[in-house]
Amino acid sequence: MNSEERDLLFESVNKYLTHSYNYFDFRLDGRASSESVMKMYKETCDLGWSAFLFSEEVGGFGGAAVDIADLFHKFGSHRVVTPYLESQITAGAILSGIGGKGSAVLGELMAGNITLCVLGSSDRYSDSGAIVLDLDNLGDLVCDYGAVPWAPVVDKLLLFASNKGENTLLLVDRQSSFVSVERRIGVDGSLVGRVTINGLRRESCEILAEGSAVSDIVKIASLKTSIALCAEAVGAMESLLRQTVEYTKTRKQFGQPISSFQVLQHMMANMFIAQTTSSEMLKGIASEISTDSDYLAYEREIMLLKHKINKESKLVRHSAVQCHGGIATTDELMIGHYLKRLVVIDNYFGGPHVDMNRINREAA
């Protein structure tokens, strides 16, 4: 895709998000239903947003880290409620990594006909561990995955398992009898399932991949997911800063705009520094990654970026609330909704401590 086509695509993304999207119409803890979110998912896949997240080799027309980052930056600044991250990025990355057996499902995914999510370890503080099982002797394996975004509506589940010590990726129907999903609303307006697998059966899972390649495939998927999450956070931070600056210029106390108070000026200056350093780091790293193996080469950088963003997003979201005063603590303003999503982003892989631990353990 040349730069002109890219500009055109983003023009349409902007247009769509500005005119057809409004957080309050899509948040599932409000009036919206998951059908409207899924309708938007399908609609935007038809507009090519999904194909833009994949390389030409697998049938897309984008797929570089900057492409993922730029689209998720928009999702962040508009607070878009969607299963794109789980389905297109994480599951999509795994399917495209597998190739072969994964291609058919990937085609359906890019067309927006199906959605998927990935189930790794059941530990709520971990993202990359596999569940341990023996496919030839499953017994009554019970696995409680806790909170899984969008699980109640996805069609398929991708299980990352360790089968007799060998890493394996299994494809399972969400509606299989041994999968139970308790439908809950997410604090970020999303849909969440508490997923339990009880009595998995051999004949109900399709083995998509096994062997030594699997762990790299899974790692790359988690690094792509990190890039998307960081970009979303940067978009949200940008909106928080912009809205805070605008509000303090209009809100008057003691006969003057509160933006004239030095304390608030300093807070906003700190927000600017936090947001700009995060966004530059993201852009810099993303621009150097185009192939899957680049992700592996940049593992440490990506994890450091996630760490940096956990820290700076906290400063930005807390200062945004503080500068607004009471009004920020209501459900009506966007400020609090960015805040909630940023907490979810912090905790996505188990939390800032887990991210830090991964740096020490995996990318030392």
Partner: protein, 398 residues
């Protein structure tokens, strides 16, 4: 033999209070204390606990005996609060007992004292605080709700915002403008208003956690009898400020923080044993433990120092600032301890009267709601910035 709680030694006192509280606290009341996600716990539980305390003469330990309090010295009052917190008793709301009560004792008429104080203790009256307005937040002195004297009545027009628990209240104490002057010093009055007077409308505000705690209150030609004024007409500003010191200072933040710290430690040491997150949080918790201990000494010292110390008012800004900011730090730690389970919106998990099964992963279920609700702790009662301004001006004399 009946023990005199005001004169017995302190360890006997503590033991007595412990046996009283643990003997009277049902498990749902205890749940309510544990599951509370802001300074306000479950309303029903709070009122239930107030009734129990009241029937034992302990609804307002810090009030003098003549008004239905216990007349204990400051040390005993703190021990009482420590015991209540350590057993997860619901916290009573502060508007009546902690804020308005002392104000009526200092500025109220005899009729106001004898009529209103008993009703605060019994819970018959539930008060809310009508200070803030849409255009008067930090700059409270610029408030514009008007009260015009017409014969035996004031006619009140205007609106209040952020009025906590107004939807549960039957009465509101308000600051109103009774003269045109700009300076609040001689133009504001402190007025008591019945919420069921014609012309009053209460509209709830939905908070970030989806619950209603705050409201807007609108006044349209509301007729209030002149005897409902507290202090002199146009002299309400000093009443207002002395109340704010009770709001900020009277709370003993360390008591709640110690308990919160204990619960987080318990959670991470028993439930999350061997977990990497729990390991990492250890250092942070140690750090906060030291801060909480220093606040403990500070608040105990302030409680004991003489009433006449003119810095006490400003010191209440200091403890409010430290107490609320430490609380926010603890919330952040419990947030990371919840891992990705933080995503789920809590429903029955936060209801103290819920009797179904509670899941293992719902331990510390209040973490996320506490975190968002307590973002407000550095906003209400005067923002953290305003407290820093007060410290600069009143303590550092800048």
């Amino acid at each position: 033999m009946k023990i005199d709680l005001s004169t017995c030694d302190l360890s006997t006192f503590r033991a007595q209070i412990e046996s009283f509280v643990s003997g009277n606290l049902s498990s749902s009341l205890q749940q309510a204390g544990r599951l509370s996600t802001s300074v306000f716990c479950d309303f029903r539980a709070m009122m239930e606990w107030q009734k129990i305390l009241h029937s034992n003469g302990m609804a307002a330990p810090s009030w003098p005996i003549e008004f239905g309090g216990c007349g204990w010295d400051p040390e005993r009052i703190l021990v009482f609060r420590e015991v209540c917190a350590s057993l997860d008793a619901p916290q009573l709301t502060s508007m009546g007992i902690q804020m308005l009560g002392p104000i009526l004792m200092s500025y109220g008429t005899d009729a106001q004292k004898s009529e209103l104080l008993p009703r605060i203790l019994s819970g018959e009256d539930f008060w809310c605080q009508g200070y803030s307005e849409p255009s008067a937040g930090s700059d409270l002195g610029s408030l514009s709700t008007k009260a015009e004297r017409k014969g035996d009545f004031y006619v009140v027009n205007g609106s209040k915002i952020w009025t906590s628990l107004a939807h549960h209240s039957n009465k509101i104490f308000c600051l109103v403008r009774t003269a045109k002057e700009r300076s609040p010093k001689n133009s504001i009055s402190f007025l008591l208003i019945d919420l069921d007077t014609p012309g009053v409308e209460v509209r709830p505000i939905v908070s970030l956690d989806g619950a209603v705690e705050q409201c807007e209150v609108f006044f349209t030609d509301v007729k209030v009898p002149v005897q409902n004024i507290v202090g002199e007409e146009n002299d309400g500003w000093k009443v207002a400020l002395s109340l704010l010191e009770h709001e900020r200072g009277g709370a003993s933040y360390y008591v709640g923080l110690q308990r919160k710290l204990e619960l987080i430690k318990e959670f991470s040491e028993s439930y999350l044993v061997g977990n990497i997150v729990a390991e990492r949080c250890k250092d942070e918790l140690l750090d906060i433990e030291a801060d909480v201990l220093s606040l403990t000494y500070l608040e105990r010292g302030i409680a004991k120092s003489s009433e006449g110390d003119s810095r006490i008012g400003a010191l209440s800004s200091l403890t409010k600032l430290i107490g609320t900011e430490l609380g926010q730090k603890l919330d952040e730690i419990s947030l990371s301890l919840r891992g990705r389970d933080v995503l789920v919106v809590m429903e029955h998990e936060l209801d103290p009267y819920y009797i179904g099964e509670r899941l293992e992963c719902d331990k510390d279920a209040a973490a996320f709601n506490s975190y968002i609700n307590n973002r407000a702790s550095t906003i209400y009662g005067g923002t953290a910035e305003i407290q820093r301004n007060i410290i600069a001006k009143k303590i550092l004399m800048l």
